[in-house]
């Protein structure tokens, strides 16, 4: 397998190589691109061309490419000579030059002649074209590509390039501004890491010249009174600390720490919102998080001084850290829990309040005022809830959350939102008035609720929690999106309920809840809104998956109207709903026909009817989703051994194959192949040795008998005709899958490599047919076309012929061929160059006529 794995990489390399054909085409392409009379090339072509050069130069630092292809340098020169180059070509040229100059050798090769004219003072940056954002963007990208060695660093620093980049940080184009900031980070890192001879320390801090220039600029702008300069520098520092974890970053930090601390408290500089990200990136860096004292004091101070909305992302980031002082962690937790605490307090009478937070740590005034304002209440809650969900989704939480109170608070929020709770306290009534019908808050709260179900410890509230959930499921005011989330939360909590009921053998509560759930489901399955019907069916499927072994569950479900309504939805006008109904009906079958001790009495649930109905959908439904759902349910049944004895299964599979063979949707055909694969493995396993098709054969005699039997079954079920035809399917994944299955079968029938020559395969009549089949497949799998007039003498149902076919046809070669990406030709650089050349001279407006 390892050989096969490395193949695609090698192939990709080969694909991007400079072949003879490409080097012949390249001069013409360059000439065409530099010709101002030609209409501009498609942007994507230029991008792909640059991708190719990036691939070519990545592992080759030599000057071979530029020496062998002088047209590249000529191209750059001729673009520079143009009086008015088009912005897109100039931008391309800048980026190309940057890519070529990425290695020191090629940089030296190009330097004298070109790089100064491209990136220096006299280049485009002082011309009228600089007005065009694409030229500025090309300049920054070009410099960034080139910036991999000291000569490039000096070239730029000595030429005043640093000033240009600092200016570009404030560019009107966000793309350029952001790229400039990234470039500065890259240059600073490169300078320090390539130019310092001894490690930097706080005492002896001898920055290399280029780094010094950048740091000086950062310090200056932090001290300036310009908010935008401060913001740019903070952004730069944020990405620097985020990407570079070297010790010298601490030296840098010590120089600016005071200034940055002052931003926290100085109201005149509006930089607070930038600080959370900066501190967070620092907290993740071992350079800072290991330090005693200072840094963490700053974080604590930030958690106190920033507004709850600004501090939220910092708090959640801190809580994800494993290495962090306990008091900082508590402070962070306080930030997140305060709004939830406030909600609890607002909803309860003063005496019964059992809040989330110790009063000594909470300072509720700010949060209270934010929650009682219409403009900030929902956004603060949504943000807090999203952070909590993020925390709860971590497998290992470094802190303990007060789950019960959190759950209570969530339930309160949900009750505020649907108007089921309107407390007397002034704060409570204000918040409940603001929150009523807020879908945003409902959705966020339900997400957290679902995440909370995985945490143990809040089981005492489970009864009242289901009251809240059922109220949402029942209410006609619940929007479809909220309803979907309610279903998700309910199914998660039902799983929890099941665990609980199992452990204490108390089924009454669960039974009551399930009954209520099915009542609601009955109503929702008849909703006029397809989204609701679909979510209901998805919910039902999930329920069956988790509960299908519980008698209590089966009883409640089967005594409700839900199964009947679900079957009705097989004829829904909406295809998504039909598909979900198919899946649900398929799962229902597990508790009706396929259950070991099925509680079904009478013939209300008729297996044959259901199978017939699903087969009808498979053969007649005009849309792919339901057909795909049917085939995947059939496969699921087969996998779980539910389709009865082998003869039944054989007929069943055979019938299904004949239906899907002609399906227009290749994913249905692919699903058919999956079914075939499962069937083959089952048959082989069921008939005895070897248990697994990959296992070695133990006894040649017994196995040959079984092989014979399984081969006959496969032939009778018409598998081979389906498999061989699929090899030539016009959609590649189908061919690949078929080939894989055939290889598995061959591995089973020929434990030792067989490959016979078809000429030698005997003079039997079968031999000719197989030779024909082999030829056809060779051409056909490429042309994706199997002759429609049939097998030309190949009897796909004859075991002997099929055995011969398996032994003769070079399936490995086919497999390799099919495994090539179907667009490997269109992706090749040669194709790209040809396409660019072909469009030269055609000035039609094809490209404007978009989709």
């Amino acid at each position: 397998m390892s050989v096969q794995k490395s193949r695609p990489v090698a192939r990709a390399r080969r694909r991007s190589a400079m072949t003879r054909e490409c080097s012949l085409l390249l001069p013409r392409v360059c000439a065409a691109l530099a010709d101002p009379r030609q209409p501009g090339s498609d942007d994507t072509c230029l991008e792909k061309l640059l991708d190719w050069f990036r691939d070519l130069t990545e592992f080759d630092p030599t000057v071979k490419l530029v020496q062998d292809n002088p047209c590249l340098t000529e191209f750059i020169t001729s673009v520079l000579a143009l009086p008015e180059p088009s912005p897109s070509i100039l931008s391309f040229t800048l980026r190309l030059a940057g890519i070529l100059a990425a290695s020191e050798n090629r940089f030296q090769h190009l330097q004298e002649k070109l790089l100064v004219r491209l990136f220096g003072r006299d280049g485009p940056l002082n011309g009228a074209v600089w007005e065009d954002a694409s030229v500025r963007s090309g300049w920054v990208e070009g410099v960034h590509s080139m910036m991999h060695h000291q000569p490039a660093l000096h070239f730029l620093c000595n030429g005043g390039g640093i000033d240009v980049i600092f200016t570009l940080q404030g560019d009107p184009s966000l793309f350029v501004a952001s790229a400039a900031s990234q470039l500065l980070v890259h240059m600073l890192t490169l300078s320090v890491e390539s130019e310092t001879t001894k490690p930097l320390s706080t005492k002896d801090c001898d920055w290399p010249a280029c780094a010094q220039m950048i740091i000086k600029r950062i310090e200056d702008s932090l001290q300036s009174s310009s908010a935008s300069h401060i913001e740019q520098s903070l952004k730069l520092l944020t990405s620097l600390f985020g990407s570079c974890r070297a010790t010298w970053t601490e030296v840098l930090w010590l120089g600016i720490a005071k200034q940055i601390e002052s931003f926290l408290t100085e109201e005149t500089v509006q930089a607070q919102h930038m600080l959370a990200n900066l501190l967070l990136n620092m907290a993740w860096s071992p350079v800072f998080c290991d330090t005693e004292g200072n840094f963490w004091a700053l974080v604590t101070s930030a958690l106190e001084h920033l507004t709850p909305v600004q501090a939220g992302p910092l708090a959640v980031g801190i809580l994800r850290l494993y290495k962090c002082p306990q008091d900082v962690r508590i402070q962070a937790l306080t930030v997140l829990l305060q709004p939830m605490d406030c909600i609890l307090r607002a909803a309860s009478q003063p005496l019964e309040y059992a809040g989330l937070l110790d009063e000594s740590v909470s300072d509720p005034i700010t949060v209270e005022s934010l929650l009682s304002s219409k403009s900030s209440c929902a956004s603060l809650l949504c943000q807090t809830l999203a952070h909590l969900e993020e925390l709860l989704s971590l497998i290992r939480l470094p802190v303990d959350l007060p789950y019960t109170s959190l759950l209570r608070s969530l339930m309160t929020i949900l009750q505020f939102c649907n108007g089921f709770l309107s407390p007397a306290s002034p704060l409570g009534s204000t918040i409940s008035r603001i929150l009523i019908n807020s879908f945003r808050v409902q959705r966020s709260a339900l997400d957290v609720l679902a995440a909370l179900s995985e945490r143990k410890g809040c089981d005492t509230l489970i009864g009242s929690l289901f009251d809240v959930l059922l109220a949402y499921l029942e209410s006609p005011n619940t929007s479809p999106t909220v309803l979907k989330k309610t279903f998700q939360a309910t199914s998660k909590w039902l799983v929890r309920l099941q665990e609980l009921s199992c452990s204490n053998s108390q089924w009454q509560q669960a039974e009551k809840i399930l009954e209520d759930v099915f009542l609601v489901l009955q109503k929702r399955l008849c909703s006029p809104c397809w989204e609701v019907r679909d979510s209901s069916l998805e919910f039902l499927t999930v329920l069956i998956k988790y509960w299908r072994d519980q008698d209590e569950f089966r009883q409640s479900l089967l005594s409700s109207e839900v199964p009947r309504l679900t079957e009705n939805l097989l004829e829904d006008p909406e295809s998504y709903v039909r598909a979900s109904a198919v899946t649900a009906v398929g799962h229902l079958a597990f508790i009706t026909y396929f259950a070991p001790e099925s509680p079904v009495i009478g013939n209300q649930y008729n297996k044959e009817n259901t199978v017939a109905k699903l087969q009808e959908i498979l053969s007649t439904d005009p849309e792919g989703f339901p057909r795909r759902a049917v085939i995947s349910i059939f496969t699921k049944w087969l996998r779980q051994g539910c389709t009865g004895q082998l003869e039944d299964t054989e007929q069943f599979v055979s019938r299904v194959i004949q239906i899907v063979e002609h399906d227009l949707d290749w994913e249905v055909r692919l699903g058919g192949l999956e079914l075939v694969e499962v069937f083959c493995i089952h048959t082989i396993c069921q008939l005895g040795l070897p248990k697994c098709p990959y296992a070695p054969v133990s006894s040649a005699v017994t196995s040959s008998i079984h092989q014979n039997e399984s081969l006959q079954i496969f032939c009778r079920a018409k598998l081979f005709s389906f498999l061989f035809r699929s090899l030539c399917d016009c959609d590649k994944p189908v061919g690949q899958r078929a080939c894989h299955i055939l290889l598995v079968l061959r591995g089973n029938f020929y434990p030792i490599s067989p490959l016979k020559d078809s000429q030698e395969a005997g003079d039997s009549s079968a031999g000719h047919g197989i030779a024909w089949l082999q030829r056809t497949l060779k051409q056909g799998s490429l042309a994706q076309n199997f002759p429609t007039d049939g097998g030309n003498g190949v009897d796909f149902q004859d075991p002997e012929s099929m055995m011969l076919a398996l032994g003769t046809i070079d399936l490995e070669e086919l497999h390799d061929e099919l495994n090539k990406s179907s667009d490997h030709v269109e992706k090749s650089p040669q194709s790209l160059l040809e396409d660019i050349l072909a469009t030269v001279g055609t000035t039609e407006e094809n490209e404007a006529d978009c989709y």
Binding site: D43, T44, E47, K48, S88, S91, D132, A133, S134, S137, P172, S173, L174, F175, A276, N277, S375, C382, Q383, A386, F439, R440, P480, T481, E531, D534, S535, S575, Y576, G624, L664, W666, C730, D731, K732, P733, Q736, L782, A783, Q784, N785, E817, S821, S822, D823, H824, V825, E826, S831, E834, D835, A838, T839, T842, E845, N846, A848, D849, C850, Y851
Partner: protein, 599 residues
């Protein structure tokens, strides 16, 4: 009001639409398109530019999709299910119905290729569509208490809409793609005189005045007819929806009229469903189709039948519509391979093709194509390009501006050079500012919002009692106290404001010193001043108080001798805000000095 376009990198480019508009504190994303020219990350917009910190769901108030073309909606499942946007999405009913078909179609084509990862699944498309709220034309939809949106008919494709986004009195209209001339199955775009602060218009055909569509249609029919007559086969690669329907109607009517017998096939079930939607949303089509609907549904085709794979080998002429539209995989490519070698046959490409695809190659004139396994396919069949796309041309764009009367215009989705020409034309003719920012550039437009204020009845009664009855045409000055609370503004009388807010009134007095040359004693100077004022201000109550000061209404005047110069007296004048006019008048009067002869 600010605008930001997340296109495919810097510089204008036809590719994908994704625009961010901030209006009065609300952030709305307009369209969420993909670029079909790439098959890596570059095909989707880089959403990290929208907000560096904070979740998109919290930042965006809603997403609006103008129509079902992939360059406008193709990144939506990626955005909502993979990036994680969980907020509301709006589109029209037909768009909501058809969008998933195209997304599914494209997903299938994409995953058909090997090694495609990071692409959305069928389930994701469905989950995304479940988040969509469908809207009707001209229905005002309240996204939240402040933000409302409204859809207008845009022509272009079935269900395409222009959207008006309104917060308070500020508004933006986004056109999406639109068409100002009716075509065979759709009507022309229309909008009322809504005078938005900003009109964001596409400008794909900014400088073209397109030749009549009739000519192109005649040309198309002629070519198909000729090929069929000489016994050739015609292949028309299409995407499942949109142009395919228009071509179907065209061929169907032509076949009927000319009584042609050659079969027309549709290669995929997808388009059957598409036709189903055209029937369902008949109200969105043009008048002619709606009128004839009763006699005969235009979308129930008599001559167009479902295709079976075996038909491609049948002898004799036929016309086949097959997907995908760029000839890069699947059915259409398979048929193309079979038919390419015969010069009697013809392939008609009705749409855009991405570089690298067979469609792109044959359109650019390549006739020897390298296929899989180093096979060379020689293309002898005729290759035709037929553009039927329905965008507004320069004339149409001007017409729409005339209809909507915006205060500012912003052009997107076009080439820079062409847009520059149109920009000048718009600025000249309508005297409004026209912007054409590069992708990634933020444009900020300042508006002068008029803010509605409630006036208390008491204040209104009092003011009308003093003055004339209110008149719409004559603005009237009113005095009162403005209370801003919970995003609402109220004008009430000062007394009521004090009462409501529980505040005590502060008295504000202005004081002024006036120097007078008068060697007499202070009380004599006061008396002179008193007499002087009494003589001039006959209608006012002027009093000389026992403590030696003078009052005129609320104005108080006291006199003291100058500390250094006894011959100069300093008059201290003080008055309240209410008597500002009289106070100023008095001061100016005193500054002139006292008359000589009053003694």
């Amino acid at each position: 009001l600010s605008f930001f376009c997340l296109g495919p990198g810097a510089g204008q480019d036809v590719g994908r639409s994704c625009i961010l508009v901030s209006i009065a504190g609300k952030n709305v994303m307009l369209d969420c398109g993909m670029h079909m020219g790439y098959n890596d990350d570059r095909r989707f917009p880089d959403f990290s530019y929208i907000t560096q910190n904070g979740r998109l769901t919290d930042f965006l108030d809603c997403v609006i999709i103008s129509h079902f073309h992939l360059d406008h909606c193709g990144a939506l499942p990626y955005f909502s299910e993979m990036v994680g946007y969980d907020g509301p999405i709006y589109m029209t009913h037909p768009t909501k119905a058809i969008c998933p078909i195209l997304l599914e179609d494209y997903r299938k084509i994409t995953v058909d290729k090997k090694g495609e990862t990071n692409f959305f699944t069928s389930q994701m498309i469905k989950d995304c569509m479940k988040k969509v709220v469908a809207v009707h034309l001209h229905q005002t939809v309240q996204v939240d208490e402040e933000l409302e949106i409204k859809a207008y008919y845009a022509g272009h494709v079935l269900g395409a809409a222009m959207f008006q986004i309104k917060v308070g009195c500020e508004s933006v209209v986004y056109t999406g793609d639109y068409n100002m001339t009716p075509d065979r199955h759709l009507g022309a775009a229309w909008i009322d005189k809504c005078r938005p602060d900003l009109l964001i218009s596409e400008s794909t055909y900014a400088t073209t005045i397109r030749d009549s569509k009739r000519c192109r249609e005649r040309d198309f029919l002629k070519k198909v007819h000729e090929t069929v007559e000489r016994g050739g086969k015609v292949l028309i690669p299409v995407f499942a929806l949109g142009r395919a329907q228009e071509l179907c109607i065209l061929l169907e009517t032509f076949w009927e009229r000319m009584n042609l017998k050659a079969p027309i096939y549709f290669s995929t079930g997808l388009t059957e469903k598409a036709n189903h939607y055209y029937k369902l949303f008949i109200t969105w089509t043009n008048q002619k189709i709606r009128k004839t609907f009763v006699q005969r549904n235009m979308f129930e085709f008599k001559h167009i039948k479902a295709f079976d794979r075996a038909f491609a080998d049948n002898p004799g002429p036929m016309v086949v519509f097959a997907t995908p539209g760029m000839l890069h995989a699947g059915q259409s490519l398979q048929i193309f391979r079979k038919w390419a070698g015969n010069e009697k046959n013809m392939v008609i490409m009705p749409g855009y093709c991405v570089q690298g695809t067979v469609g792109h190659k044959i359109l650019s004139g390549q006739r020897k194509l390298e296929m899989e396994g180093r096979q060379i396919l020689e293309v002898k069949m005729q290759v035709e390009y037929m553009s039927f796309s329905a965008h507004a041309d320069a004339k149409g764009i001007m017409q729409l501006i005339r209809q909507a009367e915006p205060r500012n215009v912003l052009l997107v989705h076009g080439e820079a050079k062409k847009m520059e020409f149109l920009k000048q034309k718009i600025e000249q003719e309508f005297h409004v500012s026209c912007y054409m920012p590069a992708n990634g550039e933020t444009t900020t437009i300042f508006t002068n919002p008029s803010i509605p204020v409630d006036i208390s009845l008491g204040l209104l009664k009092r003011e009308t009692a003093i003055g004339l009855l209110p008149d719409v045409k004559k603005p009237k000055l009113m005095h009162g106290t403005l209370i801003m609370k919970d995003n609402s503004f109220r004008l009430v009388s000062p007394e009521q404001a004090l009462k409501e807010l529980g505040l005590a009134e502060h008295q504000l007095r202005f004081t002024c010193r006036v120097h007078i040359q008068d060697p007499r004693k202070e009380h004599e100077t006061v008396l002179r001043v008193y007499n002087h004022l009494k003589g001039i201000l006959k209608d006012y109550s002027v009093q000389h108080l026992p403590d030696g000061s003078i009052t005129v209404e609320s104005i108080l005047i006291q006199a003291t001798a100058h500390s250094e110069d006894q011959g100069t007296k300093v008059l201290l004048v003080s008055w309240t805000y209410q008597d500002e006019e009289l106070g100023s008048y008095l001061t100016s009067l005193l500054k002139k000095g006292l008359p000589q002869s009053t003694s």
